[in-house]
């Protein structure tokens, strides 16, 4: 047998192999094993890449908050880059602090709390109806009520303005205004609509999380209490609620974290009445080149986000203690609603109409109507979609004929597509290294660093990118206004999902198929090409598709980093909103919603997974 031609022949005289190897020998041996294959090298390279793409921007924006920025040297009497407490002072203690930070913070918190309360009330009832009762059409509602989550949140904001816009803002009036019922400002803009819309948008969170907890809940626990003489409400309060608490808290925390980074809705609905939340305040600071203050606000958002999600991680860990293992037969017994069956179904239907039907219908109708709220045949037109020679200042054709739309669509496809493809592949690589590398520290670091962006709301992350890449640094040219910065930021933003998908795919694959190939004589590259990639084809597709969908409907990253020449669909529609081209803006939003919705369906079909697992993307 032609074995080991390259291995050295060694003298074995006077040596006892059983003696414990010295620390240096053990270290040298481990290094040799670790460097034998590209796994470790790839791990080190990706670790460096993500340090640069994720850790460095975050550090950079935190540093911005405490260092003198351009333009302030004179006033502060220090050089650019010197340490200063000026921005902290300005954001937290100065007379303008209330405008910059405290009022937006207060608004963010109250809007979030309102949205959380409302969605909890609606969501728990719906979750219970769907998973534990004999309501009509349960299965259909189970999917239909999740739809709001698949659409961009500010779809609903635009629908709201289409209906309720009043004279405070120019452009086409809202439908109510048009028929003579002027909605008051508090209905049209600000806290009230923002809270309602966020609540409706995030109710699916509660339905999914609470519903799955309910389904795992063993009815026997309920029954035992009933047998002991507890009344229905006593069972609900004393047995079910305490056991459901982790799921409830977890959905609350998730909704809070999402509200924190939400930009589109407060931008569309808050701006006209100067109602600001932290994300819009951050946006304003960046737009007015207040880099230092922007750093403070962004760092604050990150801090709140990180703390929140750490609380969530804690809750999830505690929730494990509550997992009840029940006998299968009794687990999913349904309550009979009796005479409440019809009203309950009506409630679910109402929520569906309010959160999906009405907004989408409004948007769709608005794009084919010349004057708002006039339902006569001559008022309907397809001009806004496919018309030509319209008598407007800009955009003189229907949206589908407008080159800007196609440019934005092309940009979206290219930017989001390229970023998703890259992060999908990187995610699989990270998964491979995390599972396979013999160097534990590398595995832990990669897993954590790729998860970091999850803790940072997109808008703060975008601000961090701006802070790092707006000016040339070292060999890196200034990237602001380029496609590159968008792609890099998107990749980083998507890494938590991509790497999680990669890690779980590699965990499922296990070591065996690869080791079998190794035994058969296949080296690293051969194993990658013949074994790992073919088997993981499916996960790679999801790992690309899911980030692609969330990237397409994403707004907060782009709104900070995109310029007109790098417009994507979302920023383009926002620009149309700013110019008061209501119909066109709504049409673009409908296109985005369509892509996101059908893309999600496609992804679910391809992977046979449930949305609940991809929660949070």
């Amino acid at each position: 047998m032609a074995l080991l031609s390259e291995s050295t022949k060694t003298q074995v005289l006077g040596r006892n192999p059983a003696a414990a190897p010295s620390a240096w020998q053990a270290w040298r041996y481990r290094l040799k094993v670790a460097l034998r294959e590209p796994t470790t090298l790839i791990g080190v390279l990706t670790a460096l890449l993500f340090t640069y793409l994720i850790v460095v921007p975050i550090i950079s924006i935190v540093l911005d908050a405490v260092r003198v920025q351009f333009g302030h040297e004179r006033r502060l009497g220090k050089d650019v880059g010197d340490l200063t407490l000026y921005y902290l002072d300005r954001a937290f203690f100065s007379p303008v602090a209330s405008d910059l930070f405290w009022r937006p913070l207060f608004n963010t918190l109250t809007v979030a709390l309102g949205a959380i309360s409302l969605s909890l009330v609606i969501g728990t009832v719906l979750a219970w109806l769907i998973s534990r009762t004999d309501m009509f059409g349960r299965r259909w509602f189970a999917t239909a009520l999740i739809v709001p989550y698949m659409l961009p949140a500010w779809t609903f904001a635009l629908a709201w303005t289409t209906l309720f816009k009043n004279r405070t803002v120019g452009g086409q009036p809202g439908w109510f205004e048009a028929i003579g019922l002027t909605p008051p400002d508090w209905v049209a803009y600000g806290r009230f609509p923002i809270t309602i819309i966020l609540a409706l948008h995030y109710t699916p969170f509660v339905i999914l999380l609470f519903g799955s907890a309910l389904r795992r809940f063993d009815s026997q626990l309920e029954d035992s209490a009933r047998i002991l003489g507890a009344r229905r409400y006593q069972v609900a309060v004393q047995i079910i609620l305490p056991l459901m608490r982790p799921a409830l808290l977890s959905s609350m925390v998730l909704i809070f974290a999402k509200c924190l980074g939400e930009f589109g809705v407060p931008y569309v609905l808050g701006l006209p009445v100067k109602f600001e939340v932290l994300s819009t305040s951050l946006f304003r600071s960046i737009a007015s080149r207040q880099t230092g203050v922007a750093g403070v606000v962004a760092a604050s958002i990150m801090l709140i986000g990180i703390v929140t999600l750490m609380i969530d991680a804690r809750l999830v860990r505690e929730a494990r203690r509550f997992v009840t293992i029940g006998s299968k037969g009794s687990m999913n017994r349904q309550s009979r609603l009796g005479s409440m069956r019809l009203p309950a179904t009506g409630f679910a239907a109402l929520i569906f109409v309010l959160s999906v039907g009405l907004p989408l219908l409004t948007l769709a109708l608005s794009t084919v109507m010349k004057m708002p709220a006039r339902f006569t045949l001559d008022n309907f037109t397809l001009d806004y979609w496919i018309g030509t020679d319209l008598h407007t200042v800009a955009l003189q054709t229907g949206i589908l004929l407008s080159p800007e739309l196609w440019a934005a669509a092309k940009n979206t496809m290219m930017i989001v597509g390229l970023a998703s493809l890259t992060s999908g592949i990187l995610g699989l690589l990270v998964g491979y290294v995390v599972i396979r590398t013999p160097v534990r520290a590398l595995s832990v670091y990669l897993r954590q660093v790729t998860f970091l962006p999850y803790l940072v709301p997109g808008i703060a992350f975008a601000a961090a990118y701006l802070s790092l890449f707006a000016v040339p640094r070292g060999p890196m040219p200034a990237l602001y206004g380029t496609v590159t910065i968008l792609i890099l930021a998107l990749i980083a933003d998507q890494m938590p999902y991509a790497s999680r998908a990669g890690i779980s795919a590699m965990t499922q694959l296990g070591k065996d198929p690869e080791e079998a190939a190794q035994i058969a004589g296949a080296g690293w590259f051969r194993r990658m090409i013949s074994i790992v990639i073919p088997i993981q084809k499916g996960s790679l597709v999801t790992g690309v598709l899911l980030p692609f969908i969330s990237g397409i409907k994403g707004l907060s990253l782009f709104v900070i980093l995109a310029v007109p020449s790098t417009d994507v669909l979302t920023t383009y529609s926002l620009r149309l909103v700013d110019y008061h081209y209501t119909q066109a803006a709504n049409a673009v939003v409908l296109i985005i919603a369509g892509i996101a919705y059908f893309g999600t369906l496609l992804a679910q079909k391809l992977t046979r997974t449930n949305l609940a697992e991809g929660l949070g993307s």
């Binding site: 080991l4 041996y29 035994i519």
Partner: protein
């Protein structure tokens, strides 16, 4: 394949965990059919994986002939793909995306053999293992036993110098298992392949192996021929692990705990006063006989009167459960027992069938000659 030598091989999976394998010396000679035998978790799979190179060492070295292929002290590590060994996994590890034929073909393609030769070899192993009719199926479309045969075929196709098998028969039904055992034995004879075979089934080990290595908690307990292991277990662990029903152990030095043990102690003091330091003795159920009358008990043997409390047929033989005041023994007989529950009988064991262990549980080798030399009748 030259002799494979493990010297002081050690494996520790975590910083704070116990050694999965410690200080293992193992010699696998060319053409040998070696069984690694031991209870679950004793480090059999780990040992196999270290030999294959899938697990790196924490200490010690592995040599093939006089070449070091793995050594911590010398910093040598030959990767698995260059060791040219065959390994059949406990879980088969078939490639789910390749057909049975491509699975079998994989290694040969890597070796860049001419197409005609490749096809001939794949054909012959697929025929030999009776999987040719599934050639175009995917692994998920085969039963567990069929998958196992594909896993074997995949390794046999490349004709490796040594074939490492990790419990390859565990998922087969009794009949198929017997067939596969015969098949393995035939392959071993025909190809003269060195085989290392992991099992925790002692009968499998007994019937297949030319050498058995018994392991426990990561250390080698005994290495020897099946007869050695069975007839002269090196320590109590081996004695108790091999044999079914298990060997009857009588512990010395604890008067009053067991009346039978006390009798045995008295027996040794009377007949073999020179033997000192006995910790326990063992009697294999198969080596024991019984008599209903005292005069039928052979002279010189160790015996005692006990009550029959169970007669358990095991197909062709019977196990008698015997009880005294505070001891229970098992005895195997191949003749239909003519005793009933509640009857009093005398069990008896000839001295040469007694296994004598010291206080640490190691076999007292001098006792063997002593017990054997003492002829009676």
């Amino acid at each position: 394949m030259p002799t494979i030598n493990l010297r002081g091989a050690q494996k520790n999976y975590g910083v704070n965990s116990a050694n999965a394998v410690s200080d293992l010396d193992l010699e696998i000679r060319d053409g040998e059919f070696m069984c690694l035998l031991g209870p679950s978790g004793c480090g059999k799979t780990t040992t196999l994986r270290m030999i294959a190179g899938l697990e790196n060492l924490s200490g010690g070295e592995i040599r093939v002939g006089d070449r070091v292929i793995d050594s911590v002290a010398e910093g040598i590590f030959v990767p698995p793909e260059k060791r040219e060994m065959g390994l059949v996994f406990q879980s088969y590890a078939l490639w789910p995306h390749l057909t049975i034929e491509r699975n079998t073909d994989f290694g040969l393609r890597l070796r860049k053999l001419p197409k005609a030769e490749r096809e001939a070899r794949v054909e012959s192993v697929m025929q030999a293992l009776d999987i040719a009719k599934y050639r175009d199926r995917y692994p998920s479309q085969l039963s567990g036993g069929q998958q196992q045969r594909v896993a074997l075929a995949r390794m046999l196709a490349v004709n490796p110098g040594v074939l490492l098998l990790d419990e390859p028969l565990s998922n087969l039904d009794a009949r198929l298992r017997l067939e596969m055992r015969a098949e393995l034995k035939r392959l071993h004879k025909e190809f003269k392949t060195t085989i290392v075979f992991v099992t925790h089934d002692q009968w499998e080990a007994m019937t297949l192996a030319t050498t058995i290595a018994v392991m426990n908690e990561g250390t080698l307990q005994q290495m020897g021929t099946p007869n050695d292991i069975y007839d002269r277990p090196a320590n109590r662990f081996v004695a108790e692990f091999v044999g079914s029903p298990p060997i009857n152990i009588l512990s010395f030095g604890k008067p009053g705990v067991s009346d039978i043990a006390d009798k045995a102690e008295a027996y040794f003091e009377a007949c073999y006063p020179k033997l000192r330091g006995i910790g326990s003795i063992g009697m294999r159920p198969e080596a024991m006989g019984y008599a209903t009358k005292l005069e039928d008990v052979p002279q010189g043997s160790f015996f005692s009167e006990m009550t029959v409390t169970g007669v358990l047929p095991t197909g062709g033989s019977w196990i008698l459960e015997l009880r005294s005041e505070n001891h229970t023994l098992f005895l195997t007989t191949h003749a239909l027992p003519r005793v009933d529950n509640g009857e009093r009988v005398f069990f008896h064991v000839p001295p040469e069938a007694l296994h004598v262990f010291d206080a640490e549980g190691q076999r007292i080798v001098e006792a063997d000659t002593l017990l054997r030399s003492n002829t009676y009748n």
